[in-house]
């Protein structure tokens, strides 16, 4: 799925790194606990979260993620946006809640776990 499709499906606003909207991603995860993201995420390129601090961006960067979606109308700070730009991570913001946002993407084919080498 193109990141642009995620944006459309979630009726999300683009916060930065528009250039990345054409990238294809194959799986996503949702969590407010960065500890869990670091421990359990494998190849998921999209992080859905309601947490707002710089560690969200750094965690995504450490995990080689391509896109972060802030749910529940949360907005990243200016410092977070700078960090994301520096790492080329697309930031999106939606008013949808976590459960609904994840459900919409999942039912449109963006799975939680993708077998490697597919």
């Amino acid at each position: 799925m193109k990141i642009n499709t995620i944006k459309d499906l979630l009726n999300a606003d683009i916060i930065c790194c528009e250039d990345g909207l054409e990238h294809h991603v194959y799986s996503a995860c949702g969590s407010d606990m960065m500890s869990d993201v670091l421990a359990y995420v494998k190849d998921q390129a999209v992080l859905m979260t309601g947490l707002v601090n710089s560690q969200v961006i750094r965690t995504a960067e450490m995990m080689d993620m391509k896109c972060i979606v802030f749910v529940r109308s949360k907005l990243p700070t200016a410092e977070m946006i700078e960090l994301a730009k520096d790492s080329g991570i697309v930031l999106l913001a939606t008013s949808k809640r976590m459960y609904e946002a994840c459900g919409i993407l999942y039912s449109n084919g963006l799975v939680g776990n993708r077998a490697r080498n597919v």
Binding site: M33, L38, N53, Q55, R58, M63, D64, E79
Partner: protein, 141 residues
């Protein structure tokens, strides 16, 4: 090239917002060196967990990264409270983190096990009241 490259960082313990800065920089440096992405990711995650721990549990410290032909070595050194029972701290889910830390997205008790998982070698030397020294290595080949 047989020389060892070294990157040194002082990790600020008073500012949670800047925690992880050193790890982001190391990731950039390793990319520039052209190391394989999988190696870079393992180093990044292991170091980031360790760096976060130094900030949330030890009031900051020092980080050194050595790159040799065989491995990337991460040395984390702090003068924090130390770890009373390292074996217990290594258990998945064990954490002394406060609710405040958890509200910041950390403190699931998965950091040390994760560091072990992503490194090929890990050693923890810790003394209560003195601090903690952690060595991790990720083999390049």
């Amino acid at each position: 090239m047989s020389e060892i490259l070294n990157f040194h960082f002082d990790v600020d313990g008073d500012d949670f917002t800047s925690a992880g800065k050193a790890s982001v920089q190391v990731k950039k440096n390793l990319r520039q060196l052209g190391l394989p992405p999988e190696i870079i990711r393992r180093v990044s995650i292991a170091m980031y967990e360790g760096e976060i721990n130094m900030v949330i549990h030890a009031g900051g410290g020092k980080a050194d990264v050595n790159v040799t032909e065989e491995y990337v070595e991460i040395l984390l050194c702090d003068n924090g409270p130390g770890i009373k029972d390292v074996e217990q701290a290594m258990q998945e889910g064990f954490s002394t983190a406060t609710d405040n830390i958890r509200s910041l997205g950390f403190g699931a008790g998965m950091g040390l096990p994760n560091m072990k998982r992503y490194s090929d070698y890990m050693d923890i030397k810790s003394k209560v009241g003195e601090g903690t020294d952690i060595t991790m290595r990720v083999n390049i080949n």
